[in-house]
């Protein structure tokens, strides 16, 4: 198939960006979306032009490195699929495709489609862990955890930290990302000791990074490649309130 791509090009964090148009020919339906961009980039290099910078690594949908907005949708049109797992059979000959970076104040564009998501790491740094040193642990089976709780924790822990939830949110809020971590640890006995302070500190850091607030559009859940439920946001709000009002910290 032949396609027309409109891709956001921006030389650096302070440069002005703009959409540029590229035609790509003979795209196979078995290619992944990123392989299609690889082909475009090889073509650009052969012409002496600067290839399109985009983040990617595992290309198996698990590392969370890749991410771009395709025709207005983070990771493109297929639900629960990262862009590296999106295949060209989803598109048809003659399609025009608009490709842009994640847009959020807390994710500055570094170049073209590459953004800096260090803000998500700093949220984790504020409490997204259990404070246990290596060597503290007792036998793993001394803490029985019901299958339901373990499954619920895993549902939340499946987050890959890609930032699609932020890109999808009209407020550029990182509530789903933050709630997934809070929800993962709150579902387990190991996470109880620090439960309420964790929610408080992580939410405060989220605000400090310049992410917006949640106004229940639920676009995040629709865009999440791992299908993480917005129920975790409600749960985090309860923990946050308990901590903020209870004044434990």
């Amino acid at each position: 198939m032949n396609l027309r791509l409109h891709i956001w090009r921006q030389a650096g964090p302070d440069a002005t960006g703009m959409l540029k148009t590229y035609d790509v020919a003979n795209v196979s339906e078995h290619m992944s979306f990123l392989e299609m961009l690889d082909v475009l980039n090889e073509d650009l290099i052969s012409k002496g032009e600067i290839p399109v910078a985009f983040d990617h690594d595992c290309r198996e949908g698990i590392c969370g490195t890749c991410g771009m907005v395709i025709n207005g949708r983070p990771h493109g049109p297929v639900a629960k699929t990262t862009v590296c797992q999106l295949h060209m059979r989803t598109f048809k000959d003659g399609d025009e495709i608009y490709i842009e970076p994640w847009r959020a104040r807390a994710f500055p564009v570094m170049r073209d489609l590459v953004v800096d998501r260090g803000s998500l790491d700093r949220i984790i740094q504020k409490g997204g862990f259990v404070s246990v040193n290596t060597g503290n642990a007792q036998d793993g089976n001394t803490i029985p955890i019901s299958k339901l709780d373990a499954d619920r924790a895993m549902d939340a822990a499946a987050c890959i930290g890609c930032g699609a939830c932020v890109a999808a949110c009209p407020n550029a809020s990182a509530m789903l990302f933050t709630a997934a971590k809070v929800g993962h640890l709150a579902s387990l006995p190991q996470g109880q000791a620090e439960r309420s302070t964790r929610a408080l500190h992580m939410v405060l850091q989220m605000d400090a990074e310049g992410f917006g607030a949640c106004t229940n559009h639920l676009e995040c859940e629709a865009a999440c490649p791992k299908g993480i439920s917005v129920e975790f946001i409600a749960q985090m709000n309860r923990d946050y309130l308990a901590s903020a009002i209870g004044g434990r910290d």
Binding site: S28, G61, V132, T134, A153
Partner: protein
């Protein structure tokens, strides 16, 4: 040079305990006076950085990712082994040790493997305490599954995302230390060189991938946890950025590279679909618990699988290896698939595929149970191929997956360069010539959580550290060298992209140094690689500059090292006149096509010393002494 593995004396079972008792300690108040650089934030690197910081050392951690959580350990699907014997099925530390030594085709160090099996149980405990959501039974206790090469059920898992969950656990532990100021984390930094001062590893040169700035970073010790070199084949299951640069640079600074020819070809990957293919995707080995592997009995049978009656199918693993069947170790399952395809019985485009069929399991257990066990893997397969594995058998083919070779280290995980420690896949120590499934996660975390905290302390406690600054002549020279390399690459202005060279090198390596090797092919490769390298330095083109985010430049720097490293791999493969594990030399096989080891001549680790680009490296041999297991022919029949 004399290789001293520093294996402690005494009975195997007591070596580690005795060694820990003998190692000197650093006083808690003095720990903050020592600094260590950790390169790589995968399982081994992140666990080491977190643990060392908890002890009080000053840690600087480097990753080329935008976040430490993205290291390729994250992609491990199936699970992590531990000798817990929760299943009461006969597992023990000894059995895990024995399975690993045997699985590695008797080319690993006994003492290291025994220690690995010993600490395996503590890893599970530590991860549970961190909140890793391992699969649980309804009673609330930890669940296990089976994996290749073992007859007990000892693999712990978190759906099909075990690597992700373990890495997130280690990453979170490290981020906690970042918040406490004990780990300084450098994202988007790629190591370009090792700095050796007075014979000791004292720092690294690193390039900021956003600004292009190249600087030196100094410390009292350097830990490399930078993974394997599978991407020398271009197509592999490794992430796109995985590369050999850190370990190869250390090699060029004097660290010996051991057993580079030991590469693992994983039997269950999705077959290649076209020339544009950028990587291969693994389907977890755990699928072999319930899937049955087969090809048609007749050559060139193009009927759709449901049209091929049971009597005309060859379940070749079950036929050839009745006691392990579909759970035969990876090297054996891969070679059997290649054999079937070479025989003209492969399926799918180009005949490069075999079926992995779940029809029987679905009939026996129901679709719901299969979905619960493998749902995310089935979805991934369907997304990539457009076929529904609940209805049509999966098509799989072997692909490069893991590299057992790596920098040579002693029992303390220190290389022959004092102060340079190497952890995880980047070292050579525990898997011999073949790694068993679910053992990579175990080794990465064993090294980081439970070995390095003791052995690094022992190294520091010996003292004798002079003050070394960024102004040291060795540091300044290494920085200049790295800067020159970047400007040379950018000034070639030829016609071919880094990717085109990488693809060509990869396909050469796959043909000549892949699943099966022979003297003729390896000799040809050793002639062709220098030619390709010459062309690279004359005809490469990299658009853009070195002072900005430039992904072509990053790739060019990595491919330049692969082009030298490939020669080392082929040299090792050519010298090892035997077949063992992941190294299959066609000249050395039994009548029924099994690997034929030569214990009389090759029962050693081959550690190569760098002597210059294109010049033959010097071989040093570390004899492998088996005092506790009997060197046997590996049989899974």
């Amino acid at each position: 040079m004399e290789l001293n593995s520093n294996i402690p004396g005494g009975p195997l079972q007591q070596k580690w305990d005795q060694h820990r008792a003998d190692l000197k300690l650093v006083n808690p108040a003095n720990k903050r006076k020592y600094s260590v650089i950790v390169v790589g934030t995968g399982l081994a690197g992140a666990s080491a950085a977190a643990t060392l910081a908890e002890l009080g050392y000053n840690v600087s951690a480097f990753t080329y990712h935008d976040s430490a959580r993205r290291a390729h350990s994250i992609a491990a699907q199936g699970g992590i082994n531990a000798a817990k014997n929760y299943q009461n099925d006969g597992d023990s530390v000894w059995r895990l040790f024995y399975d690993t030594v045997k699985g590695g085709d008797f080319r690993a160090r006994e003492a290291n493997v025994y220690r690995l099996a010993q600490v395996s149980t503590s890893i599970i405990d530590q991860c549970v305490a961190q909140g890793v959501p391992f699969a649980r039974e309804y009673g609330g206790y930890l669940s296990n599954r089976s994996f290749g090469g073992a007859q007990v059920s000892r693999t712990f898992y978190a759906r099909g995302q075990t690597g992700q969950q373990l890495l997130i656990g280690a990453y979170q532990a490290m981020m906690r230390q970042v918040g406490l100021g004990k780990v300084k984390l450098y994202n988007k930094q790629e190591m370009m060189d090792l700095i050796v001062v007075d014979g000791r590893a004292r720092g690294i040169v690193s390039r900021d991938m956003v600004t292009g700035k190249i600087e030196s970073y100094m410390a009292d010790a350097v830990i490399l946890a930078t993974g394997g070199y599978g991407n020398v084949f271009y197509l592999s299951t490794n992430a796109k950025a995985c590369n050999v640069t850190a370990t190869y640079r250390a090699h060029k600074r004097g660290a010996l590279f051991a057993n580079p020819c030991y590469t693992q070809i994983h039997p269950t990957c999705i077959p290649q679909s076209g020339d544009y293919q950028s990587k291969l995707t693994l389907m977890s080995e755990s699928l072999r618990n319930d899937g049955r592997i087969w090809v048609p009995k007749a050559k060139g049978d193009t009927r759709s699988p449901d049209q091929i009656p049971e009597s005309e199918r060859d379940y070749y693993l079950e036929r050839k290896y009745p006691s392990f069947g579909n759970l035969s170790p990876r090297d054996i399952a891969s070679r059997a698939a290649k054999e079937a395809c070479d025989d003209g019985r492969g399926v799918g485009p180009g005949g490069l595929g075999v079926y992995l069929d779940f029809a029987d399991a679905i009939k026996r257990l129901g679709q719901e149970v299969i979905a619960d066990r493998y749902g995310n893997l089935f979805e991934m397969y369907e997304r990539i191929t457009g076929e529904d594995p609940y209805k049509v058998p999966m098509r799989i083919y072997p692909a490069v997956h893991y590299t057992m070779g790596g920098l040579w280290v002693d029992y303390d995980l220190m290389s022959n360069v004092p102060g340079l420690f190497v952890l995880g896949e980047a070292n050579f120590s525990d898997h011999g010539a073949n790694r068993l499934g679910a053992s990579a996660l175990m080794q990465g975390l064993a090294d980081g959580y439970f070995v390095i905290p003791y052995t690094l302390g022992g190294y520091f406690a010996k003292g004798g550290f002079s003050t070394v600054s960024n102004d040291a002549p060795e540091a300044r020279a290494a920085v200049t060298e790295a800067q020159n390399k970047v400007s040379t690459l950018l000034s070639i202005n030829g016609k071919r992209s880094p990717t085109s060279f990488h693809r060509e090198l990869g396909s050469l390596m796959w043909d000549k140094c892949g699943m099966a090797r022979n003297e003729k092919g390896l000799t040809e490769a050793l002639k062709r690689i220098p030619e390709l390298r010459d062309e690279f330095w004359k005809n490469l083109t990299i658009p853009g500059t070195g002072t900005e985010l430039n992904q072509s430049l990053e790739l060019g720097l990595r491919v330049a090292d692969f082009l030298e490293f490939a020669e080392l791999m082929c040299t090792d493969a050519l010298h090892r006149n035997e077949s063992c594990g992941g190294h299959f030399r066609e000249e050395y096989q039994t009548e029924d096509g099994e690997a034929k080891r030569n214990d009389d001549e090759f029962c050693y680790a081959a550690a190569w010393e760098y002597t210059g680009v294109g010049s033959k490296p010097t071989l040093h041999k570390e004899p492998l002494v088996f005092e506790n297991v009997h060197l046997a022919t590996r049989s899974y029949k």
